[in-house]
Symmetry: C2
Subunit: 569 residues, 2 copies
Amino acid sequence: MRYSQYFIPTVKETPADAEVISHQLMLRAGMIRKVAAGVYNYLPLGLRSIRKVEQIVREEMNRAGAIELLMPMVTPAELWQESGRWEFYGKELLRFKDRKDGEFCLGPTHEEVITDIVRREIRSYRQLPINLYQIQTKFRDEIRPRFGLMRGREFIMKDAYSFDVDSSAADLSYDKMYQAYRRIFERCGLNFRAVEADTGSIGGSSSHEFMVLADSGEDAILSCSGCDYAANVEKAESRPFPEAKGELLPKEAVETPDRKTIEEVAAFLGIKPEQTVKALIVVADGEPVMALVRGDHDLNELKLKNFLGAAELEMADDEVYVKACGGPVGFAGPCGVTVRVIADQAIQGMCNFVVGGNAKDQHFRNANHRDFTVKAFADIRTVVAGDACPRCSGGKMEVWRGIEVGHVFKLGTKYSEKLKATYLDADGKEQVIFMGCYGIGVGRSVAACIEQNHDANGIIFPLPIAPFHCIVSALSVKEEPVVKASEDIYNRLAAAGVEVLLDDRDERPGFKFKDADLIGIPLRIVVGAKNLAEGKVELKHRKSGEVELLPIDEAVAKVQQLVAEALAQ
Amino acid sequence: MRYSQYFIPTVKETPADAEVISHQLMLRAGMIRKVAAGVYNYLPLGLRSIRKVEQIVREEMNRAGAIELLMPMVTPAELWQESGRWEFYGKELLRFKDRKDGEFCLGPTHEEVITDIVRREIRSYRQLPINLYQIQTKFRDEIRPRFGLMRGREFIMKDAYSFDVDSSAADLSYDKMYQAYRRIFERCGLNFRAVEADTGSIGGSSSHEFMVLADSGEDAILSCSGCDYAANVEKAESRPFPEAKGELLPKEAVETPDRKTIEEVAAFLGIKPEQTVKALIVVADGEPVMALVRGDHDLNELKLKNFLGAAELEMADDEVYVKACGGPVGFAGPCGVTVRVIADQAIQGMCNFVVGGNAKDQHFRNANHRDFTVKAFADIRTVVAGDACPRCSGGKMEVWRGIEVGHVFKLGTKYSEKLKATYLDADGKEQVIFMGCYGIGVGRSVAACIEQNHDANGIIFPLPIAPFHCIVSALSVKEEPVVKASEDIYNRLAAAGVEVLLDDRDERPGFKFKDADLIGIPLRIVVGAKNLAEGKVELKHRKSGEVELLPIDEAVAKVQQLVAEALAQ
């Protein structure tokens, strides 16, 4: 491709409304343009990277035996009513009526549509397992679309759905996808972690998220320094602490005037925060519940919600708080309360700790388990850096920031039961199909890649998803030998299957280099009159900054070799 | 691909709700499934053919210098309000509101969005010409979606938009696209005609439709037997007839009791219909107009509307009719009327003809131009088979049925003026950009192909857009040598780049052959025990039905050669 005949509208200034680096760089590099909030044009350069990710996804899905099809973006209400999500799904599901008053929505995901296909076409266990996928444009009416392609409303997604005869067969399909996802993100050249995750509103029994590691990531990830264990912050399990040994002292009330926070109380009493227990009042499906966590720990609301099996869980307002513990806000404690008390397992081994006294400026010192009733101990706190690994002995948890680019779910029979997707087993008996679903955000993968791979000058694309492998910069288009050599190198590389961009614009070298750095092409051949006089050109590596002065033939051969190596996976 | 591990849900029975053959066969061959009216799932086999068309389109667009990008399906009202189409476009434009009450529509075409990109990024004549295209899912809320992919509501379209400095540069861009379209449909293996067409609601100065010829086509096409001239029926021009020589006889009133139609009057008076002139009353932008055409000709309302420059034109109701000609319905004639009279040019050379008398049961014999006032003679009739070609001498017009699969338009400055898409010329003066737009219905091309290529047994795909090039039918999967030879042939063909489907199902030969015929794979290798004993297999050509008994190596080589030949364009 000739730069002069292509369309790469680069921008010097950092756009004011772009907060994160990938959004800024994709705008500046002329990869995307905003059409409306969360809705983008993919300009030629952006589309090329997106297509690269799509193709890697496609190849690995096919290799794993999944079959590609394509479902519509406009889907009828009836299917969503059957699954119950027409009501359940919030405003992210963009609903509308057609000219005949039929109700439709833009598909944010396609469990209903694919299950409808399968229930109509699959009849026998002989037709299972099957895994069907599509690469398609989705729409989710996010309340706060932001960060460019990172959290858009209209976006390209690969979604796959597996169908199996039973739970253990579904586990095999899940594992295949898990492995395919690892290969996909490896081939894309991304530094990522697969982490255990909560299943959220999609439902199902277990799930993993694939997280691209980047400081700007919206999600916190915890992984063990000693073993493979990794999970997102919502899901990461804690390990109980060893029991504290010591004589149980008598409980005593202490005045803590105006000390409300754990830090204030601990400082006032001359103890560490981990010698206190804080009590939080939540409302789970309408019922007030007291949650206890160690003073230096944070309650993980999602864990508590899952433990209680609650559909809704939120922090109590002041009125409920006061009613539940009988004292003012800031002094809640477990002694004497009648609401259900759930304590984090870290508290199980504590003794002689401080708790709130359910009265103004009042705490109890040397509280112990004998002094209150706990309904259950459970893992309800958020894991933090330095915690012991729940799986191995000796490993410590480390914290990373990550961007979710893929998610795999075991769905069980959630959708197949609702939509009556069944098959006849070998005995002719009707059985419900077990499902899994598997998503990859294609555009978001490109954005996450840029969050992970950039410097002050612009994007640093890994070769497998770079819009072009190599850029040939003709330093002056007014000098015949430079033009001739540039064209020659361009043609030779293109003929060898290298995706090459020839910067044939009548611009100054500095201008060209700035653009080349900004758009992040991994390899650059610089053709200048001076070096050319000696039959040489510069080969610059965008990532390392390394520059090699090479004879033309060697430069061409080296680019070919580097491209072949990077794509050989 | 192994048939047993793929997803081709074929159906024996002809689906009741499918009227046209392509719709029936695409359902039966397991290529598509209906989700809602005009909204389809593309099952794996259907998607493969669609992707083939897409790839041919992409290659030819790139070859013609067009640049691929991707615009969103959800587009904001503001852009459509700027162009005026938010009001003007009918209910086919599906409008809706997002969660923040913002107004949007599903893009049925993208003139507004692309012009918005260009007006923001193109500033100088040095950046022109440019041609940007996308292959994208569109939605048009058709009042009567029908015929499967032929007239769906959600459909895949390639739309390209050219931008030029002036009208003659725009003509060059148009010609490039015209030539690219010819190559695209040739490469797809379609029998088609490029015809002159009306520009319709897209607007602009001239356009061509690309029509796949098929008896079931919705559109009538006229083409000359002697030259290149071809146009659709709405647009096809007529040639004036030579002047009739003869003595003008005196006009006389004749009673024609109860004879209203031309045929009745002509029979009653013992003359031919072409010796009569019929008068039709239309209402053009509110004004009644009398249109005259020869008795055996039909008024072409679109031609009349274009000639009058009217925004709206419809046939008059009885009340307007009676008021316009002063007599009852069925007896209108031009003599003595005060409304504007427009006559088809075929009437210009007639003499001594019969016209209506504007009174019950009354006609005039030997009417002549002296007897009434014509505001203008114009080409306002529909051309029919056998008419003289308007371009060459001696050629006769022939009528075909066709399916529109592509359409190219010269848009002029219709959108660029409204959206203020301008550039600075070499003198630094601001100028309006000239545009063209160019569409191809991707799914419809596959459907049209099937309308053109099928027999009683199913689809007969041209090789370039067949979902697979070759099917290897293992006649019995219980006989080891058959399985081994089939696998071997399958592997060898696949390794040579042939897209091959291995029918490894445990089914009877007749069952497999029926499916193979139905899904229309161009080449079939049949591996049976009997022939195999002599080291031979059958090579069957789906189109000709020809069967060759060949040694395995020869069969494999021949398939490779046939595929290479078919794709070498």
